[in-house]
Structure formats: structure tokens, C-alpha cells
Amino acid sequence: MGTTGIIFKRELAAYFSTPLAYVFIVIFLVMNGIATFDLGGFYQRGQADLQPFFNFHPWLYLFMIPALAMGLWADERKTGTIELLLTLPIQLHEAVLGKFLAAWVLSGIALLLTFPVWLTVNYLGDPDNGVILAAYIGSWLMAGGFLAIGSCMSALTRNAVIAFILTAAICFLFVVSGSAIVMNAFTGWAPQTLIDAIATLSFLTHFEAISRGVLDIRDLLFFAAVIAAWLLASAVVIEIKKAN
């Protein structure tokens, strides 16, 4: 097993050695249930699909994912273990990646545990399971994007709560960047190319495309690029801030 794998294993075990993993999974499932069956009108719609379930995910992630990511680096700085970790014979990118993957896999576990919703819709009707699978993949990729942002924000501070708030704020901007809230602020003075560029950064647009069942390579690449860019930024920030 490579160094990244060793760090990944330690981090994942750390989530489960405190109540964090369990609290995260339980709240995630409860919130999903409320969103799908109450807010989303799953039964009333009379359609055999999981649209109300997936539509809620960007907003759910907005306050759940920062909780997973906030401690990634802030806690290492706070307890001083960052000095231990980074004086072991490892590369910085291995630590960044291992930690990120542990958080991402945990969010994946939480997502997989929503399978009763999938069972329900298959019991009640005859949904397009290909679309549902695509939406699950899209949701997990979006969670990865949120987590990569969270990793970088966590590297910025030794205070996990500040990391939480920064992550939620930046993720919010990425979620709504294609919507009227953001677009209105730019129309009128910014050139159209800039407005278009900002609109393409929207998590919502890309996620909705995938969750309709269209696995366009550009949407997948978008999330891959977001994850890569923010992880790279994490490494840069850690390198700069570790001395303080």
C-alpha cells in the first residue's frame, strides 16, 4: 500500500473513532428523508424517479460537507500534529490526497446508505435506473468538489469553525454562480464572456445535467478539474501557512 493509502486509512478510521462519522451519516439520511418525502412531495408527484431526492443534495451538502472538511488541516495545525505528519518521509500531495479521499469515501458511504430510497421507488414503480445511477455519480462528484474547497479552507486556519463558515460561503457561491442572484450582479457592466465563464462554474448547472441522466464528459471533467484545482490550492496554502 502506498503512502497515500496509509494516510487515507488512518483518516477514515479517525472519522469512525469519534462520533463524527455516525452523526454525519445519520443526519444526512434523516435530512434526505425529510427532503424527499416531505419537502419534495415524492408521493404526490406520482412519478417514479428520484428528482426531489437529488435536487435537494446541493443544499444539503452546503452545510453537511463543511462539517466533514473543517478539521482536515485545521485540527492538524491546532494540535501540532502537522509538524509530525510533514516531517515523516511523505510528499505533501500524498497527505492532501489521502485526507481528501478519506472524507470523500465517507460522503460516498453516506450516499450509498440512502439505498432504501432507491428500493422504495423501484418497489412503487418502474424508474429509469440508469438515470438514478448517473445522478448518484453526479452527487458524489459534487460532494468531492465541496470537500476539495473545504480542504483548502481548512488549510487556511487553525480554527475549524472558521473553516466551516468559509467553506459553506465559498460552496454557496459555486452552487448559485449560474443563478439570477449572481448573474444580476454582473449583467450591465461585465463583458458577456466573463458572465458566461462565471455561469459555467455553477455546481448546480453541471449537477443537474448529470442528474437528468446525461453523463456528458464535460460535466465530469468539470468536477474533476474543480477537485484537482482546490486540492492543489490546499497544498500551496499548507506550504505557506505551516510556519505560523
Binding site: S17, T79, L84, L88
Partner: protein
């Protein structure tokens, strides 16, 4: 062999390490002394590859810390100040993690872990999570991870800070046992420790070396009046010397 040449580290508003040069050879136990903020920890953080130098070079066994940090980190065992470790892990899981990162597996990994648990007497708390341990035990966990791979170079930042006299004695014993054919650099505020375990002492103040010699040589340089008056013992003379070379700026 550790070679430090014209090492400087600047922070935003001050220079923590200022043109520091010295070498340490195998078999030496170097006591690294100096007032708080003198640059001891910063120097140690640079040698272990945690911080990058602003200028100057550090080589360990011929490997430059900036060019080949992984090779240096593999050779070095490091106990950072305060002995940080992951509080939610058990002692055994923590040492297992360190052993894996250090590249051990299977039977050898188990032997290494068993060995260090014996060396620093952690047997009674192996299965406890680290946050439930006393300060002394935490310090020993930090020592255990530093010596697990039998490193050629051991860098210990205040290894006995906060320990009771018995624990201090054990740690010193351990350092003496480890020291053969190794390089050990120990920072400390306890001057009797220097007389007890070190073969050489360097005193730094404001990032510069102000004294370098065997503990006996430094004791001999103690100001005559202090040596006569309140410091008849060897550590006392060392302390008098320490004050005479580090207090000049303040007075």
C-alpha cells in the same frame, strides 16, 4: 554527519535563525541551549524539513534538506515540541501508523513496535487512546514514534519538559543508550541534563551561536564570582555561564 552552513530563517518581523553554521558527527549528543525564542525550535524544524530555510543549507548524511527532503526525513527521528500525536488513536494504532509510513510491514513491523513499546515502557497503556494518557506517557509516545525506525539522527525538542524526576531519569537513560553511533540533538532548558547526557553543548541567542564546547569546557568558562558564590556544582557553573552569554543583550 549533519552539516549546517550559513543557515538563516527570517519570519515577517524578525530573524529567528541568523547565519548559523555548525556540524555534528556520529556519536555526538549535542545539547542545544538558549533562552526562549533564541531559534532552537526553528533550527530543529529546518533540519527535520518542516520549515524551509530562507538561505543557507542543511545536509544530513550528504542529503540536502531542500533538494532531497524525503531521504533526510527517512534518516531522522523527530520529537516535535510538546510531543504532538493524534489524540483519538490508541497508542498501538498510532505506532502502527508511523511504522507503516516508515515502510515497515508484517513481522518486522510488529517487532519494531514491540521493541519501542518496551524501550519507553508503554506496555501498560498500549490499548488506551492517547488523549486519556498523562503528560509523561504522551511524551513517551512521542519518543516511541521518533525512535521506531532506529534512525541515524535523532532530534528531540525538549524531551523531558513536564516530566517528573523519575521519568526524566528514564528518558536520559534512553538517550544515552541510543546515542552510540547516532547523532542526537536535544534542546532543553534543564542544564543539569546537558551535564548528564550531552557530549557537546551549543548555546544560541538571537539566532546566533554564542558558545560551543563540551559541557566541562563551558562550565570552566563560568564567571569567577558566580562560580565561587552560588554555583559550586557543575550544572550551577554551566547555568552561570549560560546567563553570562545570553543575558548581555538584555542588560
Amino acid at each position: 554527519m549533519i552539516e549546517i552552513s550559513h543557515l538563516t530563517r527570517k519570519f515577517e518581523h524578525f530573524t529567528a535563525v541568523d547565519d548559523l553554521s555548525f556540524t555534528v558527527a556520529e556519536g555526538e549528543v549535542l545539547g542545544f541551549l538558549g533562552p526562549n525564542g533564541a531559534g532552537k525550535s526553528t533550527t530543529m524544524k529546518i533540519i527535520t524539513g518542516f520549515l524551509a530555510p530562507s538561505s543557507g543549507t542543511v545536509t544530513v548524511d550528504g542529503h540536502d534538506i531542500t533538494e532531497n527532503p524525503i531521504a533526510v526525513k527517512a534518516l531522522v527521528g523527530y520529537l516535535p515540541e510538546g510531543a504532538p500525536s493524534y489524540p483519538d488513536m490508541t497508542v498501538l494504532d498510532f505506532l502502527d501508523f508511523i511504522a507503516q509510513i516508515r515502510g515497515f510491514s508484517g513481522q518486522e513491523k510488529h517487532q519494531r513496535i514491540e521493541q519501542v513499546i518496551n524501550d519507553v515502557a508503554l506496555g501498560s497503556v498500549c490499548e488506551q487512546t492517547i488523549d486519556t494518557l498523562s503528560k509523561g506517557f504522551k511524551r513517551r509516545v512521542g519518543l516511541a514514534q521518533a525512535i521506531l525506525h532506529d534512525p541515524k539522527v535523532l532530534i528531540l525538542d525538549e524531551p523531558t519538559d513536564g516530566l517528573d524526576p523519575n521519568q526524566k531519569h528514564q528518558v536520559r537513560q534512553l538517550i544515552r543508550n541510543l546515542a552510540k553511533d547516532k547523532i542526537v540533538i536535544v534542546s532543553t532548558h534543564i542544564l543539569e541534563e546537558v551535564s548528564a547526557v550531552c557530549t557537546r553543548a551549543i548555546i544560541i541567542a538571537n539566532g546566533r551561536i554564542v558558545a560551543d564546547g563540551t559541557p566541562q569546557e563551558l562550565e570552566a568558562q563560568a564567571p569567577a564570582d558566580a562560580a565561587m558564590a552560588d554555583a559550586p556544582s557543575a550544572p550551577g557553573r554551566l547555568e552561570a555561564f549560560f546567563r553570562s552569554v545570553t543575558e548581555q543583550g538584555a542588560l
